[in-house]
Subunit: 286 residues, 2 copies
């Protein structure tokens, strides 16, 4: 191609010098919420002791409201919205961006929120394998009118490194487990409180308990396609999500604002420590 | 339920007086982009000749960055992000909101952007039936670990009324056709320019031509679940999308900013005229 327009990022190979802008990127952190990913970038700015005021950090994708993107040293922080289709558009364009920018040895980590199963709210789950609604480690990608099944395994060494790092990050429980990825938040996750609900509380609990038995510890909406695409494109990938409630106990998220904010910071804290360690900056910093 | 927290809208039955805030809503317009839905609300404010300055219109969901919501008289304007999962979360919480607010006779219209097939870029497509990647008029909802097939028919009378209204809204071509809804923007829509692509230009064109033959005139990423959920919940629903390119000609969207903005205004103009007509305000206004 003569020109590549990364439409949903409002970037392109003719309009931007992508190697100059992104060539030094080593870590990409992605999450659903734009505000949260901005907060993470500001936090990384401080943790990496970069020059200048991190508060007025610039959104590289300011020309579009589809996604937000912030860069702090070798760390890129990007929002991906909610659900498999939304994150998949971002990943296609991000992976092309990293290619055009000639980045190498990139680690990509999704830091998100999720519903837990049988674990205390506020626990952080590092995903070993992403599974679908049938507890299978697969992502079914429709290509033209064919269904192609892709693997959803994540980097085992990276997951172990992150678990080890969590032991040096006290204050909250962290564990490794399967993460179930669904296409919706209500009926697909067995919630009784959606606009539509055709099953009983018993059927819901039976489903969630079967998920627990299959090794699932949390539920979110992006991990299977994230694992599949990163795996196929050779990116070292991890998924690290905090749980906001225990789905065996309730369906609604009714945490106070302060508790919600503190929970959402937990994956950020863990990943910030991991990145500092990888960059050889640990011990020298707060 | 004693209390219903509409988590992703940052609204709730105990924290907000939903009947007072929303009881008079008669039209709900939804679209992917927050900026576009704000622009539509500002446009409706002017068109309905409401008091005050429409420029500083308040985002009712300002407490969350998942969705934006604006109210101008009886018209609610809400963003839904990209893809089936993202719009489905919003619809669950919107439908509960309309129920709690005791709204009746509500019409809901998705005004979006899309890729066209075999029609001129800038054409506006009013959807008669939303179809999936296999050209079937169905939405497959996963409930617990069962797949339930739902109908994706839209309100035929409403589609005809909108087409008639378009004849009084000159300046761009409008037509009725099937809309294909996919789970992703690249491989699922036969694009050759994604990070992953395993098919030839010939296979792509063969697929898109088969879609055209089946009656598909445009492709987007939300219409099947929108049609299915609105149908089941008794909302009169329509999908009106402008096409940004002809997919038989190209994959990349390379319109200039000004043309893109003008195209995106076309469904807004049509729906604004339709709403004014329904409210008996036509002829009295610009």
């Amino acid at each position: 191609m003569d020109e590549d327009i990364l439409y949903h990022l409002d970037l392109g190979t003719k309009t931007h010098n992508l190697p100059a802008m992104f060539g030094d990127v080593k870590f990409v952190c992605v999450g659903g919420s734009p505000n949260r990913m901005k907060a993470f970038a500001q936090f990384m700015h401080k943790e990496l002791q970069l020059e200048g005021d991190g508060e007025d950090i610039e959104d590289i994708c300011a020309g579009t409201d589809r996604y937000c993107m912030f860069k702090t040293g070798p760390v890129l922080s990007i929002s991906h919205g909610m659900g498999i289709p939304s994150i998949s558009i971002m990943l296609h364009e991000l992976i092309k961006l990293l290619h055009h920018a000639r980045c190498c040895d990139v680690t990509i980590i999704r830091i998100g929120t999720s519903g837990g199963i049988g674990i205390a709210p506020g626990s952080v789950v590092i995903t070993d394998t992403a599974v679908d609604s049938f507890f299978k480690p697969r992502f079914e990608q429709i290509i033209l009118d064919n269904v192609v099944t892709r693997s959803t395994e994540l980097d085992k060494e990276l997951a172990t490194d992150l678990l080890n790092c969590s032991r040096e990050t006290p204050g909250f429980p962290t564990l490794i487990g399967h993460t179930m990825c669904t296409y919706d938040f209500y009926e697909g996750q067995g919630r009784l409180d959606g606009a539509l609900c055709s099953f009983s509380r018993e059927k819901k609990l039976d489903y969630l308990k079967r998920a627990y038995k299959a090794g699932v510890r949390n539920i979110e909406m992006e991990s299977t396609v994230f694992a599949a695409m990163c795996g196929l494109c050779g990116l070292r990938a991890a998924v690290v999500c905090v749980t906001l409630l225990d789905r065996l106990e309730s369906d609604q998220i009714n945490l106070s604002h302060d508790v919600l904010v503190e929970y959402q910071q937990r994956p950020q804290l863990l990943i910030s420590n991991f990145i500092k360690k990888q960059l050889g900056l640990c011990g020298q910093m707060s």
